[in-house]
């Protein structure tokens, strides 16, 4: 074998190793994202997405639209009586849309028409959705009888959430991947005092956070006797979460029952089993 041929083969081998190494790298968190330029569309009642179907804003309107709730219970205040902008039934998807009016200011308590975001019953996908100004919550996992919940937030971004952005009230898994959020309370919270409690999973992969006012993910690293599931615990698996602020990336609580307030869990081994960084 002559020298040139050997050098060529070595080079090919090296490039092969480089490519394999690149392929093995997990997807990085996205960069800073902005809300798409959009046309406002007033919405007076919840949009009910039938099971197994997709509601695609860009496909429906031919452009990016910002949905702004006009009813008094869709203004996007912190009132718990707010109704959702979208109700996703089992197996449905909402994608390519902006929720709320981002032009009203920079505060987190603006009545920007974001309503109570998205409610997911069963298995749902929230893909490439932007919350220009989060209302009561950005999205909430709700229990559907007979179905293990899984809500996947993939792509998109959220801004100006006074409290938590994604709320997990059901069983099953909340997946947040390839996402950007800025000026939020918490990225996600497993319900601390729901009337029916579950050991839940939260998976965060490839997420970039700007300003966080409370914490990254809030989970119940243990449950007390009032919860009905004492001995069980949530697990948050966090991979490639980019955040340089001072708040905790994962905050642990003792889950409890309805009518009680969850307290911080200070037990180190509980926290270690529940906040898993990969």
């Amino acid at each position: 074998m002559n020298g040139t041929l050997m050098a060529r083969r070595l080079w090919r081998g090296f490039m092969g190793l480089v490519l394999v190494a690149m392929a093995g790298t997990a997807a990085a968190a996205p960069g800073v994202r902005t809300v798409p330029s959009c046309t406002k569309v007033n919405v007076s009642t919840t949009i009910d997405v039938p099971a197994g179907t997709t509601w695609d804003g860009v496909a429906k309107y031919g452009k990016w639209v910002c949905l702004v709730g006009t009813a008094s219970n869709m203004k996007g205040t912190q009132s718990e009586s707010q109704v959702p902008m979208f109700k996703l039934n089992n197996g449905s998807t909402v994608k390519n849309v902006v929720i709320g009016d981002g032009s009203l200011g920079t505060g987190t308590n603006l009545a920007a028409g974001g309503a109570d975001g998205v409610h997911c019953y069963g298995v749902c996908n929230v893909t490439n959705v932007y919350w220009a100004d989060v209302g009561e919550d950005g999205a909430t996992v709700k229990k559907l009888s007979g179905v293990t919940s899984k809500m996947t937030i993939s792509g998109g971004a959220a801004f100006k959430a006074a409290d938590k952005l994604f709320q997990h009230n059901s069983d099953g898994t909340l997946v947040i991947q390839d996402f950007y959020a800025d000026n939020i309370g918490k990225l996600a919270r497993s319900c601390g005092n729901c009337s029916t409690q579950y050991a839940r999973k939260v998976t965060v992969t490839g997420v970039r956070l700007g300003k966080v006012n409370s914490a990254g993910v809030g989970i119940n690293s243990s449950y007390d006797s009032k919860s009905g599931i004492a001995g069980k615990y949530d697990v948050a698996t966090i991979t490639d979460l980019v955040y340089s602020g001072s708040k905790a990336k994962c905050e642990a609580f003792v889950g409890t029952g309805s009518g009680n307030e969850p307290v911080k869990d200070t037990n180190a081994s509980n926290i270690a089993r529940a906040c898993v960084f990969k």
Binding site: V20, A23, A27, T34, S37, T54, K95, N128
Partner: protein, 262 residues
């Protein structure tokens, strides 16, 4: 995008106004464009938006109407460079810059992207420009990213582009992916798209075809596992007949996947 222009003009006017207050003077009327010899206003001089002094090798810098004119005439590079020189506070500068970039990305995104790459010190603007470009034309933005020199920047922009293109126009994005030979740098975006619930539900054969294109064996196997799980959750009865038609999936691998579902 007239609204953006108005906001930009208002912000600049506000910045100029604040500067004037600090000097104890009224804001000067901006000089009309037809008077090139007019002396720069003290306000504009103070915030660094006055014309350069003799010998300075830099582009002329704008007052608010000038900036608006530059945007209307698509003279974006001058506007960006002038803004960067202006001694504004960081928030105001960033706000103005984002609006300029948004306008530029809407008017001439590829020109904007090429300018950031070709102009020293401006490479950091490529990502925010690309973000805007993806919102309006994910295909062009992704194809542009694919043409960049190999490296971390191309990988990041290509992945971001594919994830957003597949969300906005999955059919076109998948056609584009299939027009290329399998490539390692496309693996992650393909795996995420192909192993998602929506594609498994609506186009399971396309999902399987995509998974088979993933070059890294470990990542491909993870994607098969995720896809099989989704197919099972959607309809357990259909998993076996679907996986039996999966391209490139060996019988032993199929059996292993089915075992893992039980």
């Amino acid at each position: 995008m007239k609204k953006n222009t108005r906001q930009l003009a208002l912000l600049l006017a506000a910045a100029a106004g604040l500067g004037a207050l600090a000097l104890g003077q009224s804001p000067a009327e901006p000089a009309p464009a037809a008077m090139p010899q007019a002396a720069p206003s003290p306000v504009l001089q103070m915030i660094g938006l006055a014309a350069p002094s003799a010998g300075e090798a830099r582009a002329p810098v704008p007052d608010a109407p000038q900036l608006t004119r530059w945007m209307d005439q698509r003279e974006f590079p001058q506007a960006v460079l002038a803004l960067q020189r202006a001694p504004l506070d960081a928030d105001t500068r960033e706000q103005l810059l984002q609006q300029l970039l948004a306008r530029w990305a809407e008017a001439a995104p590829e020109q904007a992207a090429r300018w950031t790459l070709a102009t020293p010190g401006q490479a950091h603007l490529l990502a925010p420009l690309h973000d805007r470009w993806l919102q309006q034309d994910p295909r062009s933005a992704t194809v542009f990213a694919g043409g960049l020199p190999a490296g971390p920047q191309r990988q990041a922009l290509l992945e971001e582009g594919l994830l957003r293109w597949t969300a906005q126009d999955g059919t076109a994005a998948r056609d584009w992916l299939r027009s290329y030979a399998p490539q390692p740098e496309l693996d992650e975006a393909i795996a995420r798209h192909a192993s998602g619930d929506e594609l498994a539900r609506n186009s399971p054969f396309e999902a399987m075809d995509l998974v088979a294109r993933i070059t890294a064996p470990d990542r491909r196997w993870q994607a098969w596992q995720a896809l099989a799980r989704n197919l099972y959750d959607i309809d357990p009865e259909r998993v076996l007949p679907l996986l039996a038609q999966a391209p490139g999936l060996l019988p032993a691998e199929r059996a292993r996947l089915l075992d893992e579902l039980r």
